[in-house]
């Protein structure tokens, strides 16, 4: 796709600087999910280490466990994948522009918090293959999906170098919705990241999503230790198919009470 870099840069800045009200709370809740600190403490009643003055009374009674040791629990690190539905249905009602703004606001939060994250769009097409049962010879049809991923920001890439690409998001809407394959492949990609905590944000209108397929996707994600958070762009349908879901008809909804309620739920 031929893109006007200057126009995309302008669009990026427009969305980046247009911070909705209430984003402070959203940012705080998000970071509580995604970021933790190293926990440093002391374990007592050790037989070697640093002398524990509080244990001197035990020493008087013959105890040898009068030492303490430094105890460090390393912080959980997080990887976040932000997946944007760029199918044709997102062009309707300007959903893709809402998704564009939401994506950049979320990316802004992740970037400022030093979270490892990627922003990827998806669209694609359906395929059909015919095969035969070996024993009966009966023909059956198998439906497949080919996903096109658009790497707006790759893992490890800086926001600065990705800014032009991030400014192009709304230009990419079109073609089909290989939702199942896109989610499964994104789970695969996220599972490879080294961080202990993994979250997949999906921005979509959930148009044509099959609940049983999404149920399976969520089960697989859970088995892989990945949390899926769906943001329904201009559509409440997302809540019918995803366990963790909120809707956003406007970028301002990112700062809304309902979105923050969802984030609070995820902390538990």
């Amino acid at each position: 796709m031929n893109l006007d870099k200057a126009s995309c840069d302008r669009k990026f800045l427009h969305y980046y600087n247009d911070v909705p009200q209430g984003m402070g709370a959203t940012r705080a809740h998000l970071l509580r999910i995604l970021r933790s600190v190293d926990l440093v403490g002391w374990s007592s009643h050790e037989e070697s280490g640093k002398l524990d003055r509080k244990a001197l009374t035990r020493f008087a009674t013959g105890s040898t466990t009068v030492f303490k040791r430094r105890d460090v629990k390393e912080a959980d690190t997080s990887a976040v994948s932000l997946l944007i539905d760029c199918s044709a249905s997102m062009e309707m009602g300007g959903c893709i522009h809402v998704a564009h703004g939401v994506a950049i606001q979320l990316a802004r939060i992740f970037d400022k918090a030093g979270i490892n994250f990627a922003v990827t769009g998806f669209k694609g097409s359906a395929t059909i293959q015919y095969a035969s049962e070996r024993t009966t010879g009966n023909q059956y049809r198998a439906d497949g999906e080919t996903t096109k991923f658009i790497p707006f920001k790759t893992w490890g890439e800086s926001m600065r170098s990705a800014s032009s690409k991030l400014g192009s998001i709304s230009h990419w809407a079109g073609s089909g919705t290989p939702d199942y394959s896109a989610l499964m492949l994104s789970i695969e990609d996220l599972a490879k990241q080294r961080e202990t905590r993994k979250v997949l944000f999906v921005l979509t209108d959930a148009d044509g999503f099959v609940p049983e397929h999404i149920r399976h996707v969520q089960d697989v994600a859970k088995q892989q230790g990945i949390t899926i958070v769906a943001v329904g762009i201009g559509s409440p349908d997302v809540k019918q198919v995803f366990d963790n879901a909120s809707t956003a008809n406007d970028v301002r909804d990112l700062g809304s009470a309902s979105f923050n309620t969802l984030l609070k739920t995820l902390r538990r």
Binding site: M1, Y130, A131, G137, E145
Partner: protein, 339 residues
């Protein structure tokens, strides 16, 4: 391990093979759908596009290590072995001219040959162990065949050819107990020395003539088709399954790529629509099938190809049939072009 780990492992193996083989493969994909296993491949000049097909394994199914190893072994056998080293054209022509049994003989001779080529290539380290494991898994489950069972000579070739490759095979050799021992030895050695499928086809046709001659001798008219030495007779394939086996090299069981928009190509056998007409290859005997007395004694043998073993390994672990999920093709990555 879970099905998702298995799929990951198989995909990684294919990627490694592509990387190690230089530019021999333009693509080597794995697809998981339906209930059958096999390969589609297409050659354009020196470039090969191959797709190994597995049944639709559920990502959350529990899979043991042995099954995982067998799936990897099958993927290498089909993707690397047949994909790089088998030429379907002479095989298909021989089968069309001489019949399904010759196709089976070719299969029995070709499988060890292409596995040896795969091992020698070095593109898939540890492949010998995996092939050996797969063979012994099949033998452990279904047993071996009787040495004088003519319809199972193809299966015997597949086992003994691999023994000649240097595999440790868990069952003793039975060739010398066969009334056709000399001819079988000759065919095995001829196939082992063949540089291509054409050589194997010639060896198979020659062996077929010798088998037919033996089977048509008057004192053989009461038949030599005893049952198998081990294994449950109920597991023996019927004529129907045997008739469909011949498609396994081009396509799982005669399925087609009709309407497969992502590959943009038809059947991979180089015969246009053979695989698209799944039922047609099963209708009666192919042209040129011998009408001699031997014909009845040669049908119904064990499936040479490990595909049906693989299918049975994962049969209870397939994804939801009520809500079949789409199979996932290799993704395409969009690129940015700035004006």
């Amino acid at each position: 391990m879970k099905g998702i780990d298995v799929k990951r492992g198989v995909a990684a193996t294919m990627e490694r093979i592509v990387a190690n083989s230089g530019s021999k493969f333009r693509s080597l994909q794995v697809k998981w759908f339906g209930t059958t296993a096999g390969i589609n491949f297409n050659r354009e000049g020196s470039q090969i596009d191959a797709t190994v097909i597995f049944p639709a394994l559920d990502e959350l199914a529990d899979v043991d290590r042995g099954t995982f190893n067998n799936l990897i072994g099958f993927a290498i056998h089909e993707g690397l072995g047949h994909g790089l080293y088998t030429n379907n054209e002479p095989w298909d022509q021989a089968r069309a001219k001489h019949g399904q049994y010759v196709g089976q003989l070719i299969n029995g001779l070709e499988d060890p040959r292409i596995e040896q080529r795969a091992i020698d290539s070095g593109f898939a380290p540890n492949s010998k162990y995996l092939f050996e494991n797969l063979l012994n898994s099949v033998l452990e489950r279904d047993g071996y065949v009787e040495p004088d069972d003519l319809k199972n000579i193809p299966f015997m070739l597949a086992v003994e050819g691999r023994r000649l490759n240097g595999y440790h095979v868990d069952v003793p050799s039975i060739i010398d107990q066969s009334p056709l021992a000399v001819h079988i030895h000759e065919a095995l050695h001829s196939a082992k020395q063949s540089r291509n499928t054409e050589g194997v086809v010639l060896a198979a046709i020659k062996l077929y003539e010798q088998i037919k001659q033996y089977a048509d001798e008057p004192q053989r008219s009461d038949g030599n088709t005893k049952g198998e030495g081990k294994g449950d007779p109920k597991k023996q394939p019927t004529d129907d399954s045997d008739a469909s086996e011949g498609d396994s090299q081009g396509n799982p069981t005669g399925g087609s790529d009709k309407g497969d928009q992502d590959s943009g190509q038809g059947d991979q056998d180089g015969q246009g629509n053979q695989d698209g007409q799944a039922g047609e290859s099963d209708k009666g005997e192919p042209k040129g099938e011998s009408k001699g007395k031997s014909n009845g004694k040669l049908n119904g043998g064990r499936n040479v190809d490990p595909a049906d073993f693989i299918e049975s390994e994962v049969a209870g672990k397939l994804s939801d049939k009520k809500h079949p999920r789409p199979y996932t093709n290799k993704p395409v990555i969009g690129t940015f072009t700035w004006e």
